[in-house]
Symmetry: D3
Subunit: 303 residues, 6 copies
């Protein structure tokens, strides 16, 4: 749809801005971002965010949420999961690098100063499209709109389409709402939101881009690996991504073998799961695991 | 299903009425209805409701909810949208003329009088089927059951089927509940309801047919154009329908052009959306808009 | 997924149990179970539960929820329906015999005694898999986890898969949560749960197997016929199953005839529904009903 | 407080109306009101409402809510109780005659007609103060504001004070909100409301005065006896008031005697309550009841 | 109030029972109760429950909820606290021994058997008053009514009064509702309930007396020390009571000293709390603690 | 109470910190704070916050919430009000200068860096007491704990007592919880919180002191005038405080006069409120207002 208060006449444009224009209250300098994410073993994007490699993003598409959960739980990072979202495309896994945006309720005295500061430095006014225009392939747009429904819609179908193009189908997580649910439903990118509402975004200030934000009970850092499925969304610190992927292979094989055994119909669940009780079965499993891991790695190397 | 308290035996009928029988507490004479909807430029149905033409109802099926919202917002009619419904067939747009029914909690002293008055005038007792039997092609049945779940089910699958037949697939909006969700799911008519529940309707009085009713935060007038999508339901005063449809063409073209530009991959979102910044692009857009509107109108005329 | 706290290393197993191990606080001896379900006219399973015959379970798959409701309502068994669940496979009817499991919040002093008692009798520690391993074909696993979300997940995809195998696709109802929603979605067995959550089950005690349990506003007895559809779940005492099935044939025919009449487009809904008003139509219906019931029974006998 | 959008300057008044001005959509002619409340045995107020006598209103202050409930339950009027309110003065019983007001969400096309109709008939525009100015001693103001919080405040402390003066402390029930909770707390009149909010009433239309209204699950008729305590509010049809008061004497004595017996400490509760088991105690109770009822009636006559 | 369906006529009693009459589904033999609470160091009541001594109950009245919490937390008994209640008398501490009662949703087939079994053994039908009549001084009545509001009222003012007399003001905790809130408010016994409602108890079965019950997230054992304050209710296993009381003295003195220091106005909070940083202050505190504990113990001994 | 995990033994201290220790993620340098609050006409506190004068704080205690609302509404600052709190002392007005603290969900990788940075600069670790120790007379502690209940308790009774001492009874607003509700109830300082809970604060990081924070739908700036009553809390930008106070005098007199007129019993509410209709009454009011304002100002000058 064409912006909340958009009016167009054949002979000329009368445009009321589609979103709220604001300047940034919270700054998180690139060096701070680098410092606070120093445990990431990866390269960095030009904006300072850790760059989980594209190849790992691809492999992460094959994860199950619980494989993600298992590693985070072992590391005692128990605050990295948020749920309670409406899921745009159940069954379509979301994977990408967190690009964070923070909004706060509008107050004009603060915004006037932010704007004056922006002008002083020759910068344009900040608005939701400022952030959106900075998105890169592989990003997931993560927006803290503090659970706002009315006037809390980060995008409608036009901008959601743009985000899909810009991120190469990365995704959107908003602790707030979206517009044009029918329109979004036809666009092939994962989306997680609290509500759908017809109003355009308004009565808020954009207070930070790529600053730490809170989504539900999670502190999200720019560059976190975002993983979403039917249940909810995980924000994985980059330093855990490799281990998580490697470990997942093992869990995949474990589950494969377990189901195979259940299919045989000879065992009670506790004889097989979570690990086989009988030493002979243990041996069988160990060999199966070894063989399958080798196959998987070989197959991966060949790609 | 065969009515809440339905009992049938091969050799004879013992019927306990499927719904609640009532007489109408609130009257809204035809002249009042005509007066209060006098801004409608259209013909009227025999019952006095404005008759948004069938051709416009057909065109309205192509609208997006936000095109509906945009006109209402511009007219400062900001109380015409209700959400929070369960949507029977997501992706199937609902369009039609509002046929309204109001229920209130039962009290026997009131109902006895209503019934006596009905008898005096030689009228039958009012019941939910009395209203349903008055539906016409193109109608959407809009029912105020004040959010009732248990005993607040306006129809089960039998009557929902009948409503589909009688309205030619118009639709149902109930601020209350329905029965037989499995059965309804197989019937091809849009439905919006708060809950599904197995109980039949009961413990209520039918207090008005084609009177103004409240659905969520909306005052619905009989004859309003009802428009529903995945998000919720709009009730559009007839006087705005034509403008809304005309304007929608423009927005359609705007969004078409915007996505085309995004597909080119050369522009930031703010260069294009909500309107192009570069004068040359503006010119390009203006010409595109003109050309496409002409095509659309031509195509429409040809139909 | 491989159990909440599952850790496996190629060269050896370090297993942290996937669930909570407990001993049973409430006992409901086989004789008590037989006594309290004495009205069941059917055989019994080895564990004492009434065994609604397989043939009736098959026929019950063709029921609509409201046919179930109608019989229960007539018998004044109005507390046998629970809703508010997330439904794993909408449109897939669940039918089977209730196998009940009860959990309560953990307290170590109680659990220590339970365990000591178990050891004394040479029994293994009770855990969720103990119950799951007792499931039989045709069972529906019915679990009272008192609405627990975090740490209240009765199964993940491995055990859900096992339950499907063991019950021949019977089903699961849990007043609590499940893990691995993406995984479960691919397994062809009905499931009803309050939440999905990534945590494994924990901080609870298994307090009873095949004891009476409470699910929402229902007292569920082991062996009840469980029936689930898009709306919710019914727990039908075995003594009503036959009558319910027989009566359903009649309601099926009634609805068939009603829709046929509506399709003719000649009648108002109240002329036909819930029963025809015109004596000639009544006669027509009566004959139709008789003929169709005969056909149905014949067809059934032939199977 | 001085009205939502009130502005006053020493040298002159610039007044923006404190409430929403509207004309009445629903009319309920005096004769209809009389007809629908014809079972009332009492005189009528000039506006047609039944007038439960002042003396009965006084006696009703001594009732407990459950004495009210008992009569309504016996008469099978089970929809006359609403709860979920914030109670302004817990412990202060509210009793009076219902004066009802109905609001609906604003739509300008409807309101314009209502206003034109009012002007045509030489009537002033309707606003919340129009209704408030019609209140009489002994009234309780009962307002359907459909649960609105923001912009749904029927009064602030100035008008609440006026209502207290006009009704002689009758009371207020609003399915909506109030302003100035601190101010209201100092005014000695019972109040029942859903929320407190600082906004003035707005974005609504007054659609009916002394028409049937819905408060929670109750259909309230003008002239109903309103009774409120710590739990909630009852709306009693006038025809039941006398019987309710007479019966209450008996229940009062019953409870008096029951507590006296419990105080003796010789009996188990079931030996005494709800009625004595021992024939000798029954006899004792019967005599006590007779004596006390005589005393009460004598005392009442003497007043 | 005089019982839900109580009817009394001067010349004779027609009594419809005030509550629901039932037989007990779950039995928890005295020996089982003794076994499962074997860690209690105290004597037992005749019904087998541990008897926390009266003197400790008296001392426990001086506890703060957090002193209770601290001991339970240290013992890793983190499931012993329930909140979300309406508190009848905020500021009045509740202390006593848990007397537990369990209800489940009614089903007649089960109840008929229970009743027949009762009759067979010459027992009376079980009803809520059966349990209430078994209360002893020092008891707190703890009732699992599974959060039921309507028809879930364990007592009205008559029976609440009786409970007060029988328990010597012990208290009531019900995961359900009460009637007669105005009446209860005048009776000097602590009460914790989810709702107030005018309906009498109904549509439930009494399924256990002094069996383990669940209140919120707590498994309550008969004989637990119940402690309630403005926040919620703790259920303390008897084996922890003595240590809790002794430790509380120390915390009392600690808080006393801390506030004294804050009153001096010389220190930042972190210099004093949670423990003094300066070795001299530590010494001062240690001496103060020693002196005050001696005083307290002396004082206690003298009582 | 003595700290969540406090352990003290007579012969020595073993202290586990009462709160969560953290370093500050968001910095808001003093100059930024000065810039963003540049519209304040007042002096500044040493930490850079605007200092609304003590005399104005005193006058503000006499305000009603709606007088506060009226000025904010006129200035179009409609996002400065938060409600939905539990109010510790209803009837006790809260007034003071906002001292803000922000927490976010804990993640160890971020906290480790913060701590290392703190150590590098020779600073102590940040914890909740660090913030509390910086409070000054006239402050209200405003804490963003993102609505956390369990582990979201900013203070118990010891620290609440300290806050009262340090702020001279200023107050506390926490979008989170408190401990020791019984203890707090005895301390004479206003408190606004979402929940009471027995757990100590934990699993969070202190991310900012005197940074802009969000409380409900409000962006709170350090130094805002905080005003709380029975309904909720306002955060008033300092630049509006003087005008608000002056205007309040007029509204006070207006309400005084209005009630006086209502007391006379001669007028309908609309004749007097919101402003008198009759020119003679207008004149009377104008003179009354003038006289009373003079008196008030004189009285104020004399103080």
């Amino acid at each position: 749809m064409a912006g909340g208060r958009f009016v167009t006449i054949l002979g000329g444009f009368i445009t009321v801005a589609a979103g709220c224009l604001q300047a940034q209250l919270f700054t998180f300098p690139k060096q701070e971002l680098v410092d606070y994410t120093a445990k990431s073993p990866f390269d960095r994007l030009p904006d300072g965010r850790p760059k989980v490699p594209d190849s790992m993003i691809e492999r992460a598409r094959g994860l199950s949420a619980e494989e993600v959960w298992a590693t985070l739980h072992e590391k005692e990072f128990n605050n990295q999961y948020a749920d309670g979202f409406q899921v745009l495309h159940p069954g379509k896994t979301m994977v990408g690098r967190a690009f964070t945006v923070q909004f706060m309720p509008r107050r004009d005295d603060v915004e006037d100063v932010a704007e004056a500061k922006a002008k002083e430095r020759g910068l344009p006014r900040l608005m939701n499209q400022t952030a959106i225009d900075m998105l890169r392939p592989g990003d997931v747009l993560v927006v803290d709109l503090f659970g706002k429904k009315v006037d809390g819609t980060i995008v409608g179908d036009n901008l959601f389409y743009y985000v899909m193009k810009a991120t190469h189908g990365g995704g959107l997580v908003v602790d707030g709402s979206i517009r044009d649910l029918d329109g979004l439903s036809e666009i092939d990118m994962p989306g997680y939101f609290r509500y759908a509402d017809p109003t355009p975004i308004g009565n808020v200030m954009l207070t930070g881009i790529n600053v730490p934000v809170r989504i539900g009970g999670v502190t999200v850092m720019p560059g976190d690996l975002v993983f979403g499925d039917r249940e909810g969304v995980y924000f994985v610190p980059p330093q855990f991504v490799k281990e998580m992927l490697d470990r997942a292979d093992e869990i995949h094989v474990h589950d494969e073998w377990t189901k195979k055994k259940f299919d045989e119909g000879k065992y009670k669940s506790s004889e097989i799961y979570s690990s086989p009780k009988d030493p002979k079965l243990q041996e069988e499993y160990r060999e199966y695991l070894k063989k399958r891991l080798e196959e998987i790695r070989k197959q991966r190397d060949e790609q």
